[in-house]
Each structure stands twice: as structure tokens, then as C-alpha cells.
């Protein structure tokens, strides 16, 4: 640091300039790694037996995560089920409680049971959305599919369909809200019961979590700095649109949205 002093008639002023001198303090072997703790958060968790899309936030992006949760957008899952046995934790790796035949199960039967499950969830959705059952508003929202629970609720399916049926295996695609993976497995189990057979869930796989889908997801083999940074950049417009949609409903605000969200793909172990 250099100092230049001007002696004026009344005052003594000091003008300081600085210059860098190489110092051992800046040596990497002295200060060590520069980044030791990177905050990484997850949007909605998947348990270890499930696979699929995980929205993750890095650093400042973590502040956006509560907004994602509050929005209560639906998530899309593929549920792989198998007929013939029921287990304690409703998954294929649990303790088997029951073994039942499934020859009588046809696709038509399955579709009927699915419709029944769907309608019961619709009713529950109406209850939890806090809108009077016999109002025009309720009808319109339900018709357009905008019903969402206002408070915390059990797992609610907003849409449900069978995409594959080849006994004993079948696959369902569901859209749900406030879900947990064990609850989704339980739904498979209950479908088995309704079919007068037994079913367990082989796999719960999330394919879409607003605003990211399978295509955006990075597999563990791809988890590297460049890939993650690229993913964050690619996801930027989607996240901005997401928040624009969020904010456009009740009160639009002019906040500057800067996101650091990326997507990971988890494979079950």
C-alpha cells in the first residue's frame, strides 16, 4: 500500500493507493478449497425406492422452493404394479402378506376400478379445495380441472389412467397433488383389493414436476459442474414462465425473478 501525503497550508491530506503483492495467504495450499459448502435443496422428495425427476435448487435458488410447494401444481407419476401378491409396505420388496389369483382381472375391470378411484378422489378434492359443492364456481373449476386443495391434504389424484395392462403387470399414469410415495403405493394396493385380487407396487416413477420433465433431468452419470450449469441456464425460461403464471393469478407483482433451479433424475436402488 502506497501513501502520498500532500502538505497544504492548513491540512495534511493522505492519498492512498493500493497494489497487490503476492502473498502466501492466497496460496491454495494455505486456504484450501474455496467452496466447501454449497446449499442444495430439493423441491418435493422421492423416497429411496422411487425413481424420477427431482427438482433441485442451488444457492439462492433455494429461496424459490417454498413457492414451488405453495403453488400446489400437480405432479405426474407412472406407477408400475403387479397383481397376485400383497405386501406389508405395498412394494415388491416388502414382506408378502397375501397371494391371490388374478385370472379374473381384465382390462375392463381395471378401468372400472380406476374410474371409481378417480371419482372418490374428485370428491375429496372438492372437499379440500374449500369451495361449496353446489356452486357455479365449483362446477366451472371442476370442469376445467382447476381444483386444488387449499390446505394440507392427503394424497389426491387429479387424473388417473391405465397405460399398460399385461397381467400380472400393469402401469398407471397419475397426476396428483400433496402426494407421498408410500401413499401412491397404497393406491396400487387398494386397486388390487377392489379388483378382488391383490396388487403391489413395483415402481413409483415421477415423470413431471412443474416445470421440469424427464427430458430436462440429469442422470447421475451426467452430474458434473458444466452439465448442471447448462441445465440451470436451460431451465431459466421455464422457471420464469412458471412464476409468471403463479403471480398472474391473484396479484401480479413486478419482482425480478432470478432462478437457480436444476433438475436431477433419481433411480431407485
Amino acid at each position: 500500500m502506497a501513501a502520498h501525503s500532500n502538505r497544504g497550508p492548513d491540512t495534511c491530506s493522505l492519498r492512498l493507493t493500493h497494489s497487490s503483492v503476492p502473498s502466501f495467504i492466497n496460496h491454495p495450499r494455505v486456504h484450501g478449497p474455496l467452496y466447501r459448502h454449497i446449499k442444495i435443496g430439493v423441491g418435493h422428495r422421492l423416497d429411496t425406492m422411487s425413481s424420477g425427476v427431482l427438482v433441485m435448487a442451488v444457492g439462492n435458488g433455494n429461496k424459490l422452493l417454498p413457492e414451488f410447494q405453495k403453488a400446489r401444481f400437480t405432479r405426474t407419476y407412472t406407477l408400475h404394479g403387479r397383481l397376485g401378491f400383497a405386501t406389508k409396505d405395498f412394494s415388491d420388496s416388502g414382506q408378502v402378506i397375501e397371494k391371490v389369483t388374478y385370472d379374473h382381472v381384465t382390462r375392463e375391470r381395471l378401468e372400472r376400478v380406476i374410474a371409481m378411484v378417480h371419482s372418490s378422489h374428485q370428491k375429496a378434492l372438492l372437499t379440500y379445495s374449500g369451495i361449496g359443492l353446489s356452486s357455479q364456481a365449483a362446477y366451472e373449476m371442476a370442469a376445467q380441472g382447476f381444483l386444488r386443495p387449499t390446505q394440507s391434504s392427503p394424497t389426491l389424484l387429479t387424473a388417473l389412467r391405465c397405460v399398460h395392462f399385461r397381467p400380472p403387470d400393469f402401469t398407471l399414469e397419475v397426476h396428483c397433488v400433496n402426494e407421498t410415495c408410500p401413499a401412491l403405493r397404497r393406491i396400487i394396493h387398494e386397486i388390487g383389493l377392489e379388483l378382488r385380487s391383490a396388487a403391489s407396487c413395483l415402481l413409483v416413477r415421477r415423470t413431471f414436476e412443474q416445470p421440469f420433465g424427464l427430458d430436462d433431468a440429469l442422470l447421475p452419470a451426467q452430474w458434473g459442474l458444466t452439465a448442471i450449469l447448462n441445465s440451470i441456464q436451460r431451465g431459466q425460461p421455464a422457471v420464469t414462465r412458471f412464476f409468471a403464471r403463479l403471480l398472474s393469478s391473484p396479484q401480479p407483482t413486478s419482482e425480478d425473478i432470478c432462478s437457480h433451479s436444476s433438475t436431477g433424475h433419481q433411480n431407485r436402488l
Binding site: M1, S20, V21, P22, S23, F24, I25, H27, R29, V30, H31, G32, P33, R36, H37, S51, L203, R205, L214, A217, L219, P220, A221, Q222, H265, N267, R268, L269
Partner: protein
């Protein structure tokens, strides 16, 4: 400059913990007299906040503040502030402030949990850095940090480096060795003891070059006494039923077996024989092929075996022949097996060709695996992984 008549008062004001720490480390009397220093400046890195008791490194002495030796800008500013302040302050107030640590009369900070405060002033530390010692790692070990600060380049460090090189430690490994085991620089650890340990290994017919390599790979080796080294070599020989030559081969390939926790290694061996059902001869063959299995995480080992044997259905003799699979990530095994199954190629038994060699299954990188074994592109493989 006001002399520091009695530093204990200052330490006392900093808190009782300070005081206790310093006396414990130096036994009450420091070789450098009254320049005992105290405790803990905050470190930006989280984790163990160590504190070390230091004395001023011998090669720094009592020199004046040097503006050109950079870094301690705050100290410079502190001094300037003090200069201005002094004119306005009376004698008694000055002493009070000195007790509170407002006046910096020392060259070095009186407390540190990091080497950064000292590195600019100590030639020993600078030479160690140039050698390749990671000071940021060493400072986590408080006693080691204390030792390093008290070292003299000519008296302690250089003779010890010469000694290590005479043991056969490669020059480019010296930094790594001293980072992992800075206690090798401890003057209390006598040369004769270190020499005795190396001589013991040489007497067990390890070559000098091998010993040097072993120290380079497992620096704590030299901190084990001859008795313990003997015990540990005997442990592997007895438990696995190895010949002396095999023991030498095993421990020279993976020297950290000697410095590892033997209780944990024994646990792994018992798990493999009792829980996983490997015979002793199979375990021996397994370990000679992939010694690192003995240092594996027990839970992960069991899960990997469960996946390979119970779910995929690979028998014991194949697993013993190709133990690399135990070192493979669970994810990789599962995903690759699922991909092979989807193509109808998931046969690992060489008795029924066409089969996939387990070694290649585990070890090949993704591109090679896809091209050579499956005949698909990596993109197809990645796309497949998103469906399971």
C-alpha cells in the same frame, strides 16, 4: 513500545478456556519465554474450529512490522489508528486498552485457528508449502499444527526430509506424506525409531523401493511401532491363511491395510464368511484380487451382495472370481443389469455362452460397455435409464 510485562492477564481476560489450553499445551513454561500466545480467530470454513497455542516461530523473532510482507492490512491500519489514538490517551487508559487487546504490540496475531496468519512470516511454513504440504489440512489437527509452528527449517525439517528420502519415499510424494502424517516432522519422534521401523520391514523382505512406496501410500505406517507393524502383518497372514510372500504382496499393493482399523477389517472378513457365505479359500482369492474389499463399508458390501446374488442371481464362485463387482456402485450394477435384461443379454455364467464377463460388466466405462457388450449407443442407454 510498551513491553508486554505479563501476558497471562491478557489471556485471562479472553476467557478461562484460553488459559487452560495454553498451559496444557506447553506444560506451563514455553521455551521462548514470555511470548506465549492464545486463542481462536474465526475461520471462514465451517467444521472443527480448532485452536492452537503457538509460540512465535523461531525464524521470525522480534522483527518490526514489515509493510512489504503483505496480507496483514488490518494490522497496519490497526497500528495507524493506535498512533492517532495514543496522543489522546492517558497512561492508565492505555494499559487498560492493552489488556483488552486494542493495541497491537505483537507482530503476529495472538490467536489463530489457521496458518494464514503465520505463513507470510515463517520460512519453514513457506518451504513446506513449496514441498507440497497442504497446510489447510494440517491445521485441522491441532497438535500437529502446534508442532509445525515450532519447527526450524535447518534443525528439524531438512534432516527429516533427507531421512524420508533415504527410506525410499519418492520426492514427489513427500508433500502428500507430510500432509497426511505431519507427526513425522515431530522432533520428539526420534530418527532411530523411524529407522528401526523401516529396518523391520526390510527384514521381512520388503524391498527398499516397496517400503518407500508403502510409506508414500500410507504415511501412518511410520507412526506404528515395530511391535504393531509385526502384529498387523501377522493378522493378515493368520486370518486369511496367507504365505509370507502373499502377505507381502497384499500389504505392498494396499499399504493402508496395515494402518487401517483391524477391528473393522475383521468385521468385514467375518461378514463375508458368515453372512455372505464365502469360504475361506474364496475369501483369500477375492482379497488377493481386490484387496480393497477389506476396507469396504460393511452395509454397502451387504447390499451389493444382496443385489448381485439374491436379485440378479450370480453364484458365489463367479463373485469370488470377479470381485471387482463389489467395488462397483449399486446404481451402476442395477442399471446395467436392467439394460442387459431389456436386450435379453443378462447372462453372466461363462458355462452357458454367450455370456457377459462380470469384470467387464463392472469395470468398463459407459461408452465401451454400450458398444462392446450391448451393441447400443450411450444415448439409448441414458434414455433407458430414465425409464427405470
Amino acid at each position: 513500545m510498551v513491553t508486554m510485562a505479563f501476558p497471562w492477564t491478557r489471556l485471562g481476560l479472553r476467557g478461562a478456556r484460553c488459559f487452560l489450553g495454553s498451559s496444557r499445551a506447553t506444560g506451563g513454561v514455553s521455551p521462548l519465554g514470555d511470548r506465549l500466545l492464545g486463542f481462536g480467530v474465526g475461520h471462514p470454513a465451517k467444521g472443527r474450529r480448532g485452536r492452537f497455542v503457538t509460540t512465535i516461530p523461531p525464524d521470525v523473532g522480534g522483527s518490526e512490522v514489515d509493510v512489504a510482507s503483505a496480507g496483514n492490512l488490518s494490522m497496519l491500519q490497526g497500528n495507524e489508528v493506535d498512533n492517532v489514538h495514543k496522543n489522546e490517551v492517558e497512561e492508565e487508559d492505555y494499559e487498560a486498552e492493552e489488556e483488552l487487546g486494542l493495541v497491537k504490540t505483537q507482530l503476529l496475531p495472538s490467536s489463530a485457528s489457521s496458518f494464514r496468519s503465520y505463513v507470510g512470516h515463517s520460512e519453514t511454513l513457506q518451504k513446506l508449502i513449496q514441498l507440497g504440504v497442504d497446510l489447510w489440512r494440517v491445521e485441522r489437527k491441532i497438535p500437529a499444527a502446534n508442532i509445525l509452528l515450532r519447527l526450524s527449517l535447518e534443525k528439524d525439517v531438512q534432516p527429516r526430509l533427507v531421512l524420508l528420502q533415504s527410506f525410499g519415499v519418492p520426492e514427489d510424494r513427500l508433500g502428500r506424506v507430510l500432509t497426511r502424517n505431519p507427526y513425522l516432522l515431530n522432533p520428539n519422534l526420534l530418527e532411530e525409531k523411524l529407522q528401526a521401523r523401516v529396518d523391520f520391514l526390510l527384514s521381512r523382505h520388503f524391498t527398499r523401493e516397496t517400503v518407500g512406496r508403502m510409506i508414500g501410500a500410507a504415511p501412518f505406517l511410520l507412526s506404528l511401532s515395530v511391535q504393531r507393524l509385526d502384529n498387523r502383518l501377522a493378522f493378515y497372514q493368520n486370518e486369511l491363511g496367507l504365505t509370507p510372500r502373499q502377505t507381502r504382496e497384499l500389504t505392498s499393493r494396499l499399504p493402508s491395510l496395515i494402518t487401517a482399523s483391524l477391528a473393522e477389517v475383521e468385521e468385514i472378513m467375518k461378514t463375508m464368511m458368515a453372512n455372505l457365505g464365502f469360504r475361506r479359500a474364496e475369501l483369500r482369492a477375492l482379497v488377493m484380487k481386490v484387496p480393497r474389499i477389506l476396507l469396504a463399508n460393511r452395509g454397502r458390501l451387504i447390499r451389493t451382495f444382496d443385489l448381485l446374488h439374491n436379485i440378479i442371481g450370480i453364484p458365489h464362485h463367479l463373485l469370488a472370481e470377479h470381485p471387482q463387482v463389489f467395488r462397483t456402485k449399486l446404481q451402476r450394477i442395477r442399471v446395467r443389469d436392467a439394460f442387459l435384461k431389456s436386450r435379453g443379454l443378462a447372462n453372466y455364467d461363462p458355462a452357458h455362452p454367450p455370456s457377459v464377463s462380470l469384470e467387464r460388466f463392472a469395470a468398463l466405462p459407459d461408452e465401451a460397455f454400450c458398444q462392446e457388450i450391448v451393441g447400443a449407443t450411450v444415448q439409448e442407454f441414458l434414455a433407458f435409464q430414465k425409464t427405470i
